[in-house]
């Protein structure tokens, strides 16, 4: 069945992972740097920083993902791997699945690992981590799913990185709004169930739509070669 191609692609991702860890650590450094810029720009008032904290962390997570997204499919396209996988049992479906899983693990886990530092930096209560981390985990998964569509659509375009950012940022607004609202409601002592459900709904919607759209876009890339 489809499994053959999927496990093969996962194996390949595992082998390739060593080589790209540097890229993703750079992404984490970028994440921390953006977040560290805000106190310098808005001033060191603790109350203000505490209020800004959750929004800044979310915006940093979003912005730090942008510069690496154009690498999601670019190498495999250039090296001709897309042609190879589309002719295997399972086709592009297994490939896109494996690629997204490995991309998520490589880009999101380090980011979640460093988040407690930012929480301390903004003087947020450590207990907020139990809300912030899961919501960031789901939110960045949404961003990756959106990024997969954008990256496949802009594959091979001139200035792909810029185009990708222009596509991705407006699409990610709902994720950003619900994501930030979860932590802010928690910090204000309100229930955040509604926002959490909305974020979950966005995630499930993207999980259903994104792979289909991505595969269609990759097919059209192969057509135009």
């Amino acid at each position: 069945m489809m499994i053959g191609n999927f496990t093969l692609c996962l194996q390949r991702e595992a082998l390739l992972g060593r080589g790209v860890i540097g890229d993703h650590l750079g992404q984490v450094a970028f994440f921390v740097m953006i977040a560290a810029l805000f106190p310098l720009a808005v001033g060191p008032s603790p109350d203000l920083l505490r209020q800004l904290g959750p929004s800044v962390i979310w915006i940093s997570a979003l912005l730090s993902a942008l510069p690496v997204f154009d690498r999601l499919f670019a190498e495999d396209d250039r090296q001709g791997w897309l042609e190879q996988v589309s002719l295997m049992q399972g086709g592009l479906t297994g490939y896109v699945g494996a690629r997204l899983i490995s991309w998520y693990l490589l880009s999101v886990l380090p980011l979640l690992g460093i988040t407690p530092v930012l929480v301390l930096l903004y003087d947020l209560p450590l207990s907020s981590l139990k809300v912030l981390l899961p919501s960031l985990a789901i939110g960045t998964a949404c961003l990756n799913l959106l990024g997969a569509i954008s990256a496949s659509l802009t594959l091979g375009a001139r200035r792909a990185t810029l185009l990708l950012a222009l596509l991705l940022l407006p699409l990610s607004l709902p994720v950003l709004i619900f994501g930030v609202a979860i932590t802010q409601s928690y910090l204000a002592g309100f229930s955040f169930a509604g926002q959490a459900k909305l974020l979950g709904a966005v995630f499930l919607f993207l999980l259903a739509v994104s792979p289909v759209a991505t595969i269609a876009a990759l097919r059209s890339v192969l057509e135009d070669k």
Partner: protein, 235 residues
């Protein structure tokens, strides 16, 4: 549904063990027209290739050799005509196919090798082949393109010709009656020893009952009895 597909699998397996005849395929293209960008590159093109046959596409640059190969693989949609296998419409990119149907194996200059991985790791990433050690053992017995010397080097550090030999070696592992080889300029950068090895590789595939379609500027050894299709005449 899983039960059914399992049944079909076992049926296909027992079928292939009971009768020793390899399956016979005949791939036909009728009235094929292709567009590349806005430009018509061929129209009303017919071709056919059967098990154990080699079809060589010839013609000057831009005559549509690569495009025709891409069309057979299903990357480039046909604007007219159709490609059929044993009189049924042929789709190289079906997600699931019964075990005994024809599959395509693609070779082009963008060879699908990951540059940061070693040659051996790349070879281990093949559908339906055993893990690493097995490939190494097989290569120590028979190394058609003499790649043993750079098996553990990352592909990035190889020369174009060496890279091509690794990619062609990968092709050798899928030499069977179930495979249609689609090769885009496979022998353009090979030295004379490499060219001999390439012809031997085609012969092995042919003996196994496999099909090959290749785009090439070179003539093949006449013992392979290749058929030539000249694309420049078509326009």
């Amino acid at each position: 549904m899983p039960v059914k597909s399992e049944l079909m699998n076992t049926k296909a397996q027992s079928g292939s063990t009971e009768d020793s005849h390899p399956p016979h395929f005949r791939l036909d293209g009728r009235g094929i027209a292709l567009l590349r960008g806005q430009k018509q590159i061929c129209a009303g093109l017919d071709f056919s290739v059967s098990s154990g046959e080699i079809l060589v596409l010839r013609g000057p640059n831009g005559s549509g050799k690569s495009s025709l190969l891409r069309a057979i693989a299903g990357f480039l949609p046909l604007t007219a005509g159709q490609i059929s296998c044993n009189n049924k419409p042929f789709d190289a990119q079906r997600l699931e196919t019964p075990a005994d149907s024809l599959r395509c194996l693609w070779y082009a200059q963008a060879d699908g090798l990951a540059e940061t991985l070693t040659s051996l790791e790349n070879l281990s990433l093949l559908p339906k082949t055993a893990p690493k050690t097995n490939i190494e053992a097989q290569l120590s017995l028979h190394d058609p393109f003499s790649i043993a010397g750079f098996l553990h080097q990352p592909v990035r550090s190889l020369s174009t010709g060496q890279r091509q030999r690794v990619a062609l070696t990968r092709q050798c592992f899928a030499s069977s009656a179930l495979y249609l080889w689609l090769l885009d300029e496979p022998n353009s950068g090979l030295d004379s020893a490499g060219h001999k090895a390439f012809e031997a590789m085609l012969a092995t595939h042919q003996d196994a009952g496999g099909l090959s379609v290749l785009a090439s500027h070179h003539l093949l050894d006449s013992r392979l009895t290749p058929r030539y299709l000249d694309l420049s005449d078509e326009m």
